[in-house]
Structure formats: structure tokens, C-alpha cells
């Protein structure tokens, strides 16, 4: 057995191992290297089928080569292992899995007894808050917050933590165990263990609205919802069949008002639908 996330045996982040989970020894290895440089390049990202040189949100760069098994991060100010694992590792894990012929969605996911449900939302769409609520109030296993890797129809589990923005989200949850991260902008919550993987059984798309509604999405409209969330879709092919299989599964739009009542009712409707 080994330790890792997103189906990858992650090495080079010893102080973040508490957020990882056990994986089979056969998991592909991803060695993380991080260096600091006072002159981090601000050039545009470059990405193709064999190489990546990405400018990271919040500063820093990620360089990878297909088949190399390494993710090389450069930062002006070196973050701790925890912060590299989450959120910086997500693009590296996505690329490693895409180059391996799997699929990667900018999405969260939770696991019901029947299987995994992918949770899609726009930026600040309440995805992490919903996942934290499902974990805390419904005792539902959260598989991933930032990145859903699809391999042979299953979602692979991510780091055992998620981050909530300090403004807005935190008042809705009992977050005694949370600690401040990312320049005091967010609080990190530890997630209970989850299965290493679970078969995808459907997708929920979160929206804000004045009243709550849960509506099934017709097959013809499902790719329109899924495709914008494919990571690096214009430059790395990934596994288009996995996207089509996801589109063949049930999908719902879950619209709800902001605030605790909206969150509570929406979470109940979501768990009822996919239970």
C-alpha cells in the first residue's frame, strides 16, 4: 500500500500525508518537487500533449512532462506541504491523469451507498459549502472538493480536506476543527475518510435562485453542462468516452437561495434524489 490522492501515489509532501489516503501500491507515482525563486516567470501558460508550463492562480508555476512522473512547482514564497497538496496539486493530478487517458473535471464529488455524485458549480457557486454540509450534517463521504478524476467510470478520492471562504460560508457550519489557510482567506476542514474510488452514478449542477428547485436535465442538455468543467479540454484530449458516459447518467439542476435554509433544503433534496 501507499499514500496519495486522485489515484496517484504522491511523494515529496511528507507534511501533508495526514490529508492523503491509502492506495494500492500499483498506483502511478507523482513526485512533487517545490522550489522557491524570487523571479517566478509571469509568462502565459503553455500546455500540449506532452508538456505543461502553467502559471498558477495566486502565483507560482507548475512544470510537467508527460510520462516523467514529476510535478515541479516554483513559488516566490514557498507554501507548506498542506497548501501544495490542496489546492495546488489539483492541476498537476489532472494533467497526470489526462495524459494517462483518464478524464478530469473541475468539480466536487460525494459518495452515496449507490455510488459517486459529481457536483458542478460556477466559481463561488457554493460547491465547497454544500460538500461540507453533506459531510457534517448528513455524514456523507466527500470524495473530492476541487477535482474529479474519472477512471473507468469511477471517481477517485482527493485530499481529506476542503477549504471554505471566510466570508459567508463559515457561519453556516460548525467548524471548530477548521484552521486558517491561504493568507487567512479561507478555513480548512478535515474530511472523514472516504472510499478510494466510487462508480459515478450521476451529476448535480448547483445554481443560485430565489426559490429551491430540483429539475432533471434532459440528455440533449447534459453535455452543455458538463463540457465547460472539463479541465484543459482544448489542449489535452483526456477520455471523451468518460464524458459521454457521464452524460448518460442522471443529471439534475439544483437551484436554491443563499443562506442556511436554502442549503439545508437543497442538501436534503440532493441526498433524497440520489439515495
Amino acid at each position: 500500500m501507499t499514500l496519495g490522492v486522485y489515484g496517484l501515489d504522491v511523494t515529496g509532501l511528507p507534511k501533508a500525508e495526514r490529508w492523503m489516503r491509502t492506495l494500492p501500491a500499483s498506483a502511478p507515482r507523482l513526485r512533487v518537487e517545490k522550489t522557491d525563486s524570487a523571479t517566478t516567470s509571469t509568462q502565459d501558460s503553455r500546455l500540449n500533449r506532452t508538456e505543461a508550463d502553467l502559471r498558477l492562480l495566486g502565483g507560482g508555476r507548475l512544470r510537467m512532462r508527460r510520462g516523467d512522473g514529476r510535478a515541479v512547482f516554483t513559488f516566490a514564497e514557498l507554501p507548506g506541504d498542506d497548501d501544495v497538496l490542496h489546492p495546488y496539486l489539483a492541476p498537476a493530478a489532472a494533467l497526470a491523469q489526462l495524459w494517462a487517458g483518464n478524464e478530469a473535471l473541475h468539480s466536487g464529488a460525494f459518495a452515496t451507498p449507490a455510488g459517486a455524485v459529481a457536483l458542478l458549480a460556477e466559481k463561488e457557486g457554493g460547491k465547497s459549502t454544500m460538500l461540507a454540509w453533506l459531510s457534517a450534517e448528513h455524514r456523507i463521504a466527500v470524495l473530492s472538493d476541487d477535482l474529479v478524476v474519472l477512471r473507468r467510470g469511477s471517481v477517485l478520492s482527493g485530499p481529506r480536506c476542503l477549504d471554505l471562504r471566510r466570508a459567508g460560508d463559515l457561519g453556516l457550519l460548525d467548524v471548530e476543527a477548521a484552521h486558517v489557510v491561504r493568507n487567512r482567506d479561507r478555513r480548512r476542514i478535515t474530511l472523514p475518510d472516504a472510499p478510494a474510488q466510487a462508480p459515478l452514478i450521476g451529476t448535480a449542477v448547483l445554481r443560485w435562485d430565489r426559490r429551491m428547485r430540483l429539475e432533471a436535465v434532459a440528455p440533449a442538455d447534459r453535455l452543455r453542462e458538463l463540457l465547460p468543467h472539463r479541465m484543459y479540454r482544448h489542449r489535452v484530449s483526456g477520455d471523451p468516452r468518460a464524458i459521454l458516459k457521464a452524460a448518460a447518467l442522471p443529471m439534475v439542476i439544483l437551484a436554491r437561495p443563499r443562506g442556511e435554509a436554502g442549503l439545508r433544503n437543497a442538501a436534503t433534496a440532493l441526498t433524497d434524489y440520489f439515495s
Binding site: 440528455p219 440533449a220 447534459r222 453535455l223 479540454r233 468516452r241 459521454l244 452524460a247
Partner: protein, 93 residues
């Protein structure tokens, strides 16, 4: 005529067809009557056979079926999803 075999993927869903062109990220949702034609196009067919299939399956007049077939072929050709688009253009004129 035949659907392109490379970088074009599709999946039947509840009688419809969802298709994804991996080259362009263009997607297509084909309704149930179009899905009937999609199966023929996937294995290779002729315009005449497509028209005949619509006539027999939906009891359409041949002229109406021909119009529907040409409209679908036009759309597929415009999206670059046919392997032999030139022949399709020739067949329609």
C-alpha cells in the same frame, strides 16, 4: 457516406445520441429520429438508404424524408463529422 471514425465519439442515451468531437470540443445532441440515421451513418450507408429508412420507420412521404435527410447531412457535413463530405455534397446536388 460514413461518420468520421477518428476523434468522434458518441453514446446512445434514452433513444437519442450524444456526440462529442474531440478535435473541436463541439458536441451534438441527435433526437430519436436522427438517431435512427446515426446508426446507419456509423457503419456506412447511402443517401437513398437513409431516405428509405425514414420512409419505412416513420411512414413519411419520400420527398419529406429526403428533405429531412439532406438537412441532417448538411449539419453533419458543416460540423466536419462525415468522413467523405465531398460525396455527400455531390449526392445532394
Amino acid at each position: 457516406m460514413r461518420l468520421r471514425s477518428d476523434d468522434l465519439h458518441w453514446q446512445a442515451v434514452e433513444g437519442e445520441v450524444l456526440a462529442l468531437d474531440a478535435r473541436t470540443q463541439v458536441y451534438l445532441a441527435v433526437n430519436k429520429s436522427g438517431a435512427v440515421l446515426w446508426d446507419l451513418l456509423a457503419r456506412g450507408t447511402s443517401r437513398a438508404e437513409l431516405i428509405e429508412r425514414l420512409v419505412s420507420q416513420y411512414d413519411l412521404a419520400p420527398d419529406r424524408a429526403a428533405g429531412d435527410v439532406d438537412r441532417i447531412l448538411n449539419e453533419l457535413s458543416a460540423k466536419g463529422l462525415l468522413a467523405d463530405a465531398e460525396r455527400v455534397v455531390g449526392a445532394r446536388t
